[in-house]
Structure formats: C-alpha cells, structure tokens
C-alpha cells in the first residue's frame, strides 16, 4: 500500500479518475435507459460503443487526417466524429432492437430469453467487426483484423489548468464537461419534453401508457436510439483520449459501465453518471495505492459493499418507480 503516492497528489488522481469515469458514465446511460423502460439488460450495448469507435476511425481515415491537425480543423473533425459516431451507434442500437428484441417482445418472451439474445447479439457484432469491419475501417478492405488499431490524435493533450497540484489537460476537461452536458440534456429531455413523458409513462406502466395513447414501440425505439447516441458520444471521447480501438474494446468498457449503472442505481440517469465517475475514481485510487492489477478488485468490492447497504444502488431506481 503506497499511501504517499495516493495522498501526495490526490487531486491529480481524482482528475484522472473522473475523466476515466466520464466514458463509463456515458455508456452506463445506455444500459440504464433500456433497463428503466424494458427491464432488459442490453448486453449488446458495449458493442454499440465499439461500433462508434470504428465509425469515427473510418471517417477520420477517409478524410486523411494525420496526428494533431490545426485547432480549427480539429474542432471540425471532432464535430464530424460526433455526428458519425452518434449516427453509427444510434443506427446499430436501432437495428439491434428491431432485429433481436422486438419479435421477442411481441411474443412476451421471458426475461431470460432476452438476456441470452443480448449476449448472442453482442458476440455476433464482435465477430462481424473482427472478421470484416475492423479491417475495413482501418483501410485494409474487408479482412480479418483482431489487432489494436491506432487512431490519429485530434488534440494535443496539454495541461491547461493547474489546481492543487493537479494538472488538468484540455482533453480531460472536454471529457468530464461533455459527460455532464450530455446527462443534463438527456435529463431535461426525459423530464420536460412530450417524448420524455412517453418514455416515463412506458417505464411506469406499459399497458396504461398504451391506453393513454403512447406508442410503445416508438418509445422503445427512442430509448435505444438515445442510448446509442450516448454511446456514440462516449466513443468520440474514447478515440480522443485513448486513440486506439479493437474489435473487443467494448467488452471491458461495457462491463464497467454496467457496473457503474448498478452502482448508481440502474434505471436512474443521474445514478449512471454518479456511478461512472465514482467507479473511475475508485479504480485510479486503487491502482495508485497498489498496482493496476487491483483496480477491478477494488471496484467490485465497493460495488458489493454499496449493494449490501443500498440494494438499489446509490441513488436507487427512479425512471421506473413512479417518481421524477
């Protein structure tokens, strides 16, 4: 246990953790939205994130971008990346819902069937990318590529603020701020708009909502698309910060994001954000205190302890239970 390393520069580790957690949080929103409405853990969501990273990589390569373009162009490319990532992830999420889940829902399949289908869809997407798409997006035609693929860096990561010994980089600020903005936007959308009211209605009681004239299928499609958009945004942040992708990149992120969603209270949007950021910070603390090998152990110990005292997670469930 290296307490000096941790407390010597606690602020820095917190910043590192928050920026790591921002991606978990955005991906966690997708899990939580779908769960809140359908009571379904959409394990294919991690692959929807992966698709986003590849779509952005493909677009950037197509535009012939090399490392660190000028700041003006970088902003343009990032915006294009956001559009492409969100579109690709949103479209994939929609397709998954249409192809894999809708028919099961019509047939009133038991929850376990959905779970297995979700895992199956996830495997199918991973292999499609490993066998064809990863090669395609890295510019080698439709060929098998299971390797780590580098993505050109958009922004040079530079320290812009130093607070309490923490050097905060431009990219870290963008990550945390975007996560907060996206959550705020989503929260407002769900709580203030007509569409959001429909989502909440279906979450509370699908049958009554249908009687009140809410089109259930449309609401469910909307929920999948929203989750996909968030995953697409997370994919952009990921590409910007880590600059690599791979066919199975979604697996670990998805697992962590799902953990974050449970930690914060699955079905609760703000909980997903809180859980994600918290998980990121815990992991960085644990890795600093001991070795990186222990970060998962620490994360899951905290999860278990939280669930013992608060079985519904830190903020509890809210999208489904008649609050909000």
């Amino acid at each position: 246990m290296n307490f000096d390393a941790l407390f010597g520069n606690l602020a820095q580790h917190t910043v590192d953790g928050l920026s790591k957690g921002a991606i978990y949080a955005l991906v966690a929103l997708g899990y939580t939205l779908v769960y809140g409405v359908l009571r379904l853990i959409n394990f294919a969501h991690s692959e929807i994130f992966m698709v986003g990273t590849f779509a952005i990589l493909g677009t950037w390569s197509l535009l012939g971008i090399t490392d660190t373009p000028s700041i003006g162009m970088a902003i343009v490319y990032l915006l294009i990346g956001l559009l492409v990532g969100a579109a690709a992830s949103g479209a994939t999420a929609l397709t998954v819902e249409r192809v894999a889940y809708r028919r099961l829902r019509r047939m009133n399949a038991p929850p376990l069937i959905f779970l297995i289908t979700a895992i199956g869809v996830s495997l199918v997407l991973v292999e499609i990318y490993a066998l064809w798409m990863a090669g395609f997006f890295s510019g080698r035609g439709f060929s098998e590529n299971r390797l780590v693929i580098g993505i050109p860096a958009m922004l040079k990561q530079e320290t812009v603020i130093s607070v309490a010994g923490a050097n905060i980089t431009n990219v870290q600020i963008i990550m945390v701020v975007s996560a907060l903005v996206m959550l705020y936007g989503l929260d407002q959308f769900i709580n203030r708009t007509r569409y959001g009211r429909g989502v909440r209605a279906v979450a509370q009681n699908p049958d009554t909502a249908a009687l009140m004239g809410v089109h259930q299928d449309r609401v469910i499609m909307l929920v999948f698309v929203l989750g996909g958009l968030m995953a697409g945004a997370a994919a952009l942040l990921w590409n910007m910060r880590y600059g690599i992708t791979k066919f199975d990149i979604g697996f670990v992120i998805g697992l962590k994001a799902f953990t974050a969603a449970v930690l914060g209270g699955i079905g609760n949007l703000r909980g997903a954000l809180l859980g994600g950021l918290l998980l990121g910070v815990i992991e960085v603390y644990a890795a600093t205190l001991t070795r990186s090998t222990w970060e998962d152990v620490a994360a899951f110990v905290v999860l278990v302890v939280v669930l013992i005292f608060r079985p519904t997670g830190l903020l509890g469930e809210s999208l489904g239970k008649a609050r909000a």
Partner: protein, 384 residues
C-alpha cells in the same frame, strides 16, 4: 567418450532395427497406404495463429511451413506433413490441442509452443507421451528450469534478454533510472523480473498492469512521480500500444524499451507516432542477417520479409525434419535426435544443452528501433 560410443552403438542398433522393419514393410507394400517406410512423418505446430498477438507468431509458422515445403519438394520419396493447431496463445486452448496431438500416434514431434504460457501448460503432456517439442519463440526461464525432457527451444531465454536490455540501458541509452512495468503474465512478469535483477541500482520504480487494460492513468502518474529517463515494458502489444500512446500524450519523453513481445508490426501501428524511437529487444536475428538463402526464399514465398522469429520457426522445423529424413520415425528416436543435434541453422548455431536451452554462447540478441512506424534493426547487444 564412452557415452558417445554407447549412443553411437545405440543409434546403429536402432538404425539396423529400423532397416529391418523397413525391409518387412517393403516386402508387403500393399498394406502400407503411405508407403513412407522409414522416412518422413507428421509434425504438429501450435501457437497463436489468430487473435490479438498473432502478428508475433505468424512469421514462425510461415518459416516452419517453408522448411517443410522445401524439404518435400526436394525429397519426393520422403514426405513430411505439418498440421497447424491454432491456440490463440491461450493455455486453456493449448491443453486440449496437446491431448489431441499426443493421442494421435502419427504425430512424431511438435513445433511450439509459440508463447511461454501455453508451453508451460502443455509441456508435461508432451513429455509424458515422449514427444519432442522444439519451440521457435517461448522464452520464459522456468520452461528449462525444471527437468522436462521434451522441451527444446532455438532461442535464448528471458534471462539473457533481460540482461541484454540492462546492458542496453547502461551502455547505449546511458540511462540513470529505469521504471519497469510488466503485465503479470508468465512471460511479462518473468522478463521484467530478470531485467530488474540485472539493472541493480538503475531500477527505479515499478508497476504491474493487466491484460486487456486500456487506461493507464495510474501507471502514468507513478512514472511521472518517479521521473525516470527510461521505461521498460514486459508484455505484449495489446497493452503496450495504448500504454505508450498515453505516456507520450501525457508528456513523458523517457526512452521506451520493450522485449520480443513487442517485436510485432501491430505495435508501431497501434501506438502511432508515439512509438517512434521506442526500442524493442529480440533474441531474433534481423532477417537479412539470417544464414543461407532463407530471407530471400521467405520473401519469395510470402511476399514480405520474415518478421519476428521467422528464421527461428524455420530452424525449429528443420531440426525435426532432418531427424525424420534420417529415419528417426518414432517419438523416442526423434527426441534423441534433437538432444544430439549439433549443426549450423539459419538463425544461429543449433545445439541444445541438457535442459533444452540452445547453447548459451550462441545466443544473439538484437536491439531494434521503431522508425517511421517500422521495426528496424539498430544494433546487436553484446552481453560481455
């Protein structure tokens, strides 16, 4: 001298017995579908031929295939077959493969494993069956530390590579403080441990990461706190590429050195511009330094120069093929043949010590530098 006589006598005796057997077979040829007689046979090769680290292994597979093809073209009456088993470098996948190979009596020898972990998991199975293993690239020390009779390798082990990296840091990079990271695998932790030992008081700071990790913020803050002028990484491309990328982006300019696990074209392409100037050590020869016409033959066959362990794969196959060609067509004979092997190969002079390691005085270790995304030979590291 006496032992040699005994061996020679034994060999003559065996040869006589085999000739007799061949004679018998020749007399009732109709029964023998293969018609191989006492020449040729079947070999197995296993390793990560797909999966994230396959870039490291494919050249040795290609080298072995080349050796088999050349032999078969030159000796129409003595055919050797090579069957590939893809383990993805995973010990749990290599174990059923080992049982399958051992259970099939027609397999006489094994080329592999490509990685240390899968080799460690399966070497006892092969030993129990009396099957010889010749690995082109499994470098963990512990593989030859026990008394396993089956295992041989045509490369130097991690101890020599770790020591060579220390020499490189001290004499070439003139480093004052080296931060050592490993990925917790048999290979990564082992080689990093050897390096730390050889570095002595140059070693300053350490961290362990894990496979499939992608965020290295904690490791990076530890490196920053230690402020080393060099960073060494024991592990594979999958984690090294993002680690190096994030290090460079975080403004760490220390020399980066990895071992043969990073002698893989995917490493510079994954790490991007940050990889330039990184050093990779490898007990493998630069392809153009390989003996004979190997390099040209390989390039002609596969359209690219041999990468990591291409020459070693060729050598490993060659050792076994020559045995088969000499009529060592039982598992026991082939094992004895490899034990007694003493000949120039394309990668180095091949002769095994009793533990199965290649003769230590013949091991060569090279430092390679990443330049413009390509792995280019820099210099040979002289151990003494």
């Amino acid at each position: 001298m006496r032992r040699k006589y005994v061996r020679a006598l034994g060999a003559v005796g065996l040869a006589a017995a085999l000739f007799a057997a061949a004679g018998c077979q020749a007399s009732d040829e109709g029964n023998d579908a293969g018609g191989d007689g006492n020449c040729g046979g079947k070999l197995a090769i296993f390793g990560a031929f797909s999966g994230p680290n396959s870039g490291l292994v494919i050249p040795s597979l290609n080298g072995a295939k080349l050796a088999v093809r050349q032999h078969n073209e030159a000796n129409a009456d003595c055919q050797v077959t090579l069957q590939e088993f893809d383990t993805q470098g995973d010990p749990t996948q290599a174990t059923p493969v080992a049982n399958q190979v051992v259970g099939d009596e027609s397999f006489l020898g094994v080329i592999g494993g490509a990685f240390s972990g899968e080799t460690k998991a399966t070497m006892d199975v092969y030993e129990a069956a009396g099957m010889v293993m010749v690995s082109p690239s499994a470098t963990a020390i512990e593989l030859t530390a026990g008394d396993n009779k089956a295992f041989h390798r045509v490369v130097g082990n991690d101890a020599t590579q770790g020591a060579a990296a220390a020499v490189y840091f001290r004499d070439v990079a003139k480093a004052k403080k080296v931060f050592v990271i490993n990925d917790g695998t048999t290979y990564g932790a082992g080689i990093a441990g050897e390096l730390t030992k050889a570095l002595g008081d140059l070693a300053g700071g350490t961290d362990q990461v894990q496979e499939k990790q992608v965020n290295f913020a904690a490791t990076i803050s530890k490196i920053k706190a230690a402020a080393p002028d060099a960073v060494a990484y024991g592990g594979y491309t999958n984690e090294a590429a993002p680690l190096l990328k994030q290090m460079r982006e975080a403004g760490i300019t220390a020399t980066f050195l990895g071992f043969d696990g990073l002698y893989d074209p995917a490493f510079p392409s994954g790490a991007g511009a940050g990889a330039n100037g990184a050093i990779v050590t490898c007990p493998c020869l630069p392809p153009d330094k390989a003996g004979g016409t190997f390099s040209a033959d390989y390039e002609k066959e596969y359209g690219s120069p041999p990468g990591s362990y291409g020459a070693e794969g060729f050598d490993a196959a060659k050792v076994l093929i020559e045995g088969l060609a000499e009529g060592k067509t039982t598992r026991k004979d082939l094992l004895e043949w490899v034990d007694a092997y003493d000949k120039e190969g394309v990668s180095k002079y091949l002769k095994f010590d009793p533990t199965g390691d290649v003769d230590k005085s013949r091991v060569v270790i090279w430092a390679y530098e990443i330049k413009d995304g390509a792995i280019t030979a820099q210099q040979e590291i002289k151990l003494s």
